[in-house]
């Protein structure tokens, strides 16, 4: 029998490498960024302690608020543009026929593409001269709707949200299909005996059963929208006139090109706080619903 000592040695040796790497590169940076946030530092020389000045500057910067607003636009557009579409597709495609499997794998495909490629392709689709978007509008006789989609501050966040939705519907579709396939046949039989079918069945039987899954996808939408950094960097770089900045691109643009690591750390800490608040709000909202 292995002795307790041997077990202890094994536990330590097997767990520590993973734990240490994870602590050093994921957990500790969070504390470092909270700490650096109180300093002014150009990346060389001494860092100067400046208290809350970085945060004060951030709250006075209209571009920070614009970035926060754009992030929230993305959260809303993801929840509205991804979850319902995926749910409808899943209800129609939940059987494992050849046709449904084809459509499902087509919808999932963009998920495996690099975000850079997604951003570049859609940059071309929106191109003012040869982009498909304007061309299609012209064909539909909607010439007045054509515009420079990524430059016009009125619509560019919406334009950016479309490729993000395009690329992310796939996983939600697969999640919903799995949830629908898990509904036991007895429930379908019971619904039949009750004479429940069509819309009626969908709303009173199917949706309540998979409601938990819907909530999970909304959480994923929120955290996914906070990750939308690559698409913006590639499509607009946060411009024009910083109108498409997100919190993450705002952090990037106000740190690395201008050598303001203290300020960037303060913004990073703010991103942590915003995402914690969103997750907590969502937790409270869903807990109320399930109780």
């Amino acid at each position: 029998m292995p002795t307790a000592m041997r077990s202890k040695g094994f536990i330590a040796l097997a767990l520590l490498p993973a734990l240490l790497l994870f602590l050093i590169f994921v957990i500790i940076p969070v504390f470092w960024s909270a700490y650096y946030g109180f300093f002014s530092w150009k990346g060389f020389g001494d860092a100067k302690f400046i208290g809350l000045d970085n945060y004060k500057e951030m709250f006075r910067d209209p571009i920070f608020w614009r970035a926060l607003r754009n992030n929230l636009i993305l959260v809303v557009s993801s929840i509205v543009g991804q979850v319902p579409v995926a749910l409808v597709l899943a209800i129609v495609l939940f059987k494992n026929s050849l046709f449904s499997r084809f459509v499902r794998s087509a919808v999932f495909m963009p998920m495996v593409l690099s975000t850079v490629v997604v951003g570049l392709i859609w940059g071309y689709i929106y191109h003012p001269q040869f982009g498909v978007a304007n061309h299609v509008l012209d064909l539909l006789g909607l010439h007045s709707w054509t515009r420079a989609w990524l430059s016009d501050p009125k619509v560019n966040m919406l334009a950016i949200s479309i490729p993000i939705n395009w690329a992310n519907i796939g996983p939600y579709l697969v999640i919903f299909v799995a949830a629908l396939q898990n509904i036991s046949p007895e429930i379908h039989d019971a619904a039949k005996i009750d004479g429940s079918a069509g819309w009626n069945k969908l709303i009173h039987v199917t949706l309540p059963i998979i409601w938990g899954t819907v909530v999970v996808t909304i959480v994923l939408c929120i955290s996914g929208s906070l990750k939308a950094f690559d698409h913006v960097i590639v499509m607009t770089g946060g411009g024009p006139a910083r109108s498409t900045e997100l919190l993450a691109t705002y952090m990037y643009n106000s740190t690395f090109s201008v050598y303001r690591y203290g300020y960037g750390s303060a913004v990073s800490t703010m991103i942590m706080i915003v995402s914690a608040v969103l997750i907590a709000l969502n937790y409270l909202a869903t807990r109320r619903k399930s109780s």
């Binding site: 292995p2 094994f10 097997a14 998920m111 040869f130 999640i175 069509g198 999970v216 991103i271």
Partner: protein
Amino acid sequence: MNATITAASRSGTGKRAVFKGLAGFGKLILLAYAVVTLYPLYWLFTSAFKTNQDFFANPYGLPKQWMAQNLVRAWDLGNMGRAMLNSAVVTVSAVILTILLSVLAGYVLSRFSFPLKKVVVVLFTVGLLIPIHSTLVPLFIMMKNMGLLDTYGALILPYTAFELPIAVFLSMAYMSSIPKEIEEAAMIDGSGWWGIFGRMILPLCTPIVATISILAFLRFWNDFSFALVFINTQALKTLPLSLSLFSDGFGTDYSLTMGAMAIAVLPTIVIYLILQEKIMKGMVAGSTKG
């Protein structure tokens, strides 16, 4: 559609034809949706083979003349061989490291109870929720101090670290489903824990190792953010990073940029076509655990 068909069968044969027609119409819409989803890719691959004149004169049709040399030019001018090698080195190393560390940690967490185990699990859970972009600045400073910037390690280590929570939870859940009797038998034989793990448990883990590898591969191969911040040397740039710079550098040479993009997405698309069921299941398992 299932719902409409059951409704049709209830309401008599007369209406059945109408509902069948509706179902067919629904299928048509779905097919259109699939085509719209795939269209950007079709457009990318056809444009990649056009001359620049053809691209402007005839942006939506098939190429008048299939210019395979666009891909060759893009490969040479964009230094894509080097970028692909860098991506391969970084991705493969990080995938191997992720598997080793997460399978061992997952085994310990699924089999042993020890003080602070709860703390470890909570930490990994918190790790799932940390937005990676909020760690870019501190990681940059840390790696600068450690002399890691502009090395393969600057990508391999953070990739692995950020993939660990998902990978650990996936392997932990999988190993909890392996019956404990297997180890009890081995213990009577007098094998130590390393022997039990290596000879008994690891061979049983192939399915979950496959899932973790697929998830990690796609994440690392496609990563842009870390490479953008941590890699500056031309010779170390990964595929997504050099692609983004390529489009700046050759901004007006569209067929060249399209050629480079076609080369870059081809490996993932081929892998997706071969492994799609596994990829869909794995990504969903990974994201719902998260």
